[in-house]
């Protein structure tokens, strides 16, 4: 059996390899297609930013107490103010967010350096399971009660798209 197997023709081996790739692709399809890009919308123009690129550009690491997880978490991401300036030229007066769980909200006041768009937690990339692939957090929320989650409503999770509202 082993000899037979070892003597497989290259065509058979290539066919087996192709099957493996197809099976893997089919299995990974949901997560590969799902939540791997962030849509940045400015008027009629929609730009897809690969989450992998965002992760690669995440140049800031800090540790923050996450009230939703109830523990200190090492977060990695980009300053949201800088991100907005890169994408829109300036910080828009308001932003409309759409999340992967179909949550939608429009919020103002983003010209604030405390906000970060994070892509990783404790060294692991954010996924939908960990309320990713990108999430907004406030690096400095001093003075607020961490037991009152209502005070952290603006921490947008599972962000799917960000639309500038001028």
């Amino acid at each position: 059996m082993n000899a037979v197997a070892l003597q497989c023709s290259p065509w058979v081996r290539a066919r087996g390899l192709l099957a493996c790739v197809l099976i893997s692709t089919s299995v990974l399809l949901p997560t590969a297609v799902f939540a791997q890009a962030l849509d940045v919308i400015n008027g009629d123009v929609t730009q897809k930013i690969a989450i992998s690129d965002l992760r690669a550009n995440s140049d800031t690491t800090f540790t923050l107490y996450d009230p939703y997880q109830g523990r200190d978490v090492e977060m990695q991401g980009v300053a949201f103010q800088d991100f907005l300036i890169d994408q829109f030229g300036e910080v828009p007066p308001a932003l409309h967010f759409t999340a992967w769980d179909d949550y939608e909200v429009t919020l103002e006041g983003w010209d604030d350096p405390t906000w970060y768009l994070i892509t990783s937690e404790d060294g692991a990339p954010l996924t939908i399971r960990t309320r990713g692939p990108v999430r907004l957090v406030e690096r400095d929320y001093s003075g607020r009660d961490v037991a009152n989650l209502r005070d952290f409503n603006d921490w947008i999770w599972m962000i799917r798209s960000i639309e500038a509202k001028w």
Partner: protein, 382 residues
């Protein structure tokens, strides 16, 4: 002998101190403080109620407006629907995985892990189902069955959270009612206190006004001669000081042989004569002069006087007036009626010049008396 004019004595009349003034200020302060306290109470209560209302009733549409557990449960039920739907297994698995991932993200909360024992096992079940769906190691019905446990847990969380929210709203309602009562009664009490303090303040104000009025009347009386109602020596000084830098005439009028009149008619009749003479002098000077009684039988008149001729004219009028009045004087040595000796002087009103003017008028009066009384003399510019 020329009698020297008495030095001008400045009247020592000063307003009585307002003894109750500190309390007057205190009542006013207390009243204002009461109304301020009322405002503070109302603002405090408003600021207390508003955030509570915000907390319980203004969460619609926010991230935590709908319970995370509810949203998580709905995604699990969606996953079950996808798995049982009439569609290819691969599509069903992909859709179910998406829903379960979202459900996991929404239920993996510290607050749920901490408060509900079923959370950790449920999350482990979701992890296991996801892993088996990804490698297609589980059939559709089996996966649907696995999800019932987490759905039950999430329903339990939902119900408990709703109970907690209901209890919190109930507490808020009770608390609001209590605050409302406190606000009502406190406002009423403070308002009444404010009114009482204000009333005390008003009463004190009236008392102060009354005291001021009394002081003023006392000062007025202190300046009057009680017998004739005209001014006294203090009033003369005051009036001269009030007419600084004006050209004035000072006329001293002495009733001739008044002692003998009193001896003949008695003092009550003498007092009557004094009142009649005060009236006569005023009428004779056409009410342009201010009259004063300086002593027993001595009057003074102060009037505007641009020149000495005018002063002489006034003095002459006085002599003629008393003669025309023809008051009987049975004890007059010269068998005349009541007569005047009049001395006058003109001066520019000033505290320093008044003493000289008084002395000059007195000298003129002395000259009249030396010449046999019933006449007038004027000392040229004092």
């Amino acid at each position: 002998m020329i009698s020297k004019a008495k030095p001008a004595v400045a009247p020592s009349i000063q307003p009585r101190p307002l003894a109750r003034q500190p309390r007057y200020v205190t009542w006013l302060s207390l009243s204002v403080m009461s109304f301020l306290a009322l405002m503070v109470l109302i603002v405090y209560e408003s600021r207390w109620v508003y955030p509570e209302i915000q907390a319980y009733f203004s969460q619609t549409g926010n991230l935590t407006g709908q319970q995370l557990a509810t949203r998580s449960r709905v995604y699990l039920q969606n996953a079950q629907s996808e798995l049982l739907a009439d569609q290819p297994e691969q599509e069903a698995f992909a859709a179910a995985i998406t829903d379960i991932e979202l459900s996991y993200g929404l239920s993996d909360m510290h607050v749920y892990r901490h408060q509900y024992e079923c959370t950790e096992p449920s999350l482990r079940i979701l992890n296991r189902v996801l892993a088996r769906l990804e490698v297609a190691e589980i059939d559709r019905v089996g996966a649907v069955g696995e999800l019932f446990g987490p759905i039950q847990c999430l329903t339990h969380i939902e119900m408990d959270q709703l109970d907690q929210r209901g209890a919190a709203i109930n507490d808020f309602s009770v608390s609001t009612r209590q605050h409302n009562q406190v606000l009502t009664y406190s406002s009423l009490l403070i308002f009444v206190m404010g009114l009482v303090f204000w009333w005390l303040h008003e009463r004190q104000l009236r008392r102060t006004d009354h005291a001021t009025q009394e002081t003023f009347e006392w000062m007025q009386r202190a300046m009057r001669d009680p017998l004739t109602g005209i001014g006294n020596r203090s009033a003369l000084h005051q009036d001269v000081l009030a007419k600084q830098h004006q050209s004035l005439g000072l006329i001293l009028i002495d009733i001739d042989f008044f002692k003998q009149y009193n001896d003949a008619y008695g003092h009550p009749q003498g007092d009557t004569l004094l009142r009649q003479l005060a009236t006569l002098i005023g009428e004779t000077l056409n009410d342009e002069a201010q009259l004063y009684r300086l002593g027993g039988d001595e009057f003074a008149a102060l009037l505007r006087c641009p020149d000495t001729e005018t002063l002489k004219s006034y003095c002459c009028q006085l002599i003629e007036g008393i003669r025309a009045a023809d008051f009987a004087h049975p004890a007059h040595p010269d068998k005349k009626g009541v007569t005047f000796s009049v001395g006058g002087s003109r001066f520019m009103a000033d505290e320093a010049t008044f003493a000289y003017a008084y002395e000059a008028a007195d000298k003129a009066l002395y000259r009249v008396k030396a010449a046999g009384r019933d006449g007038w003399q004027v000392t040229e510019d004092a």
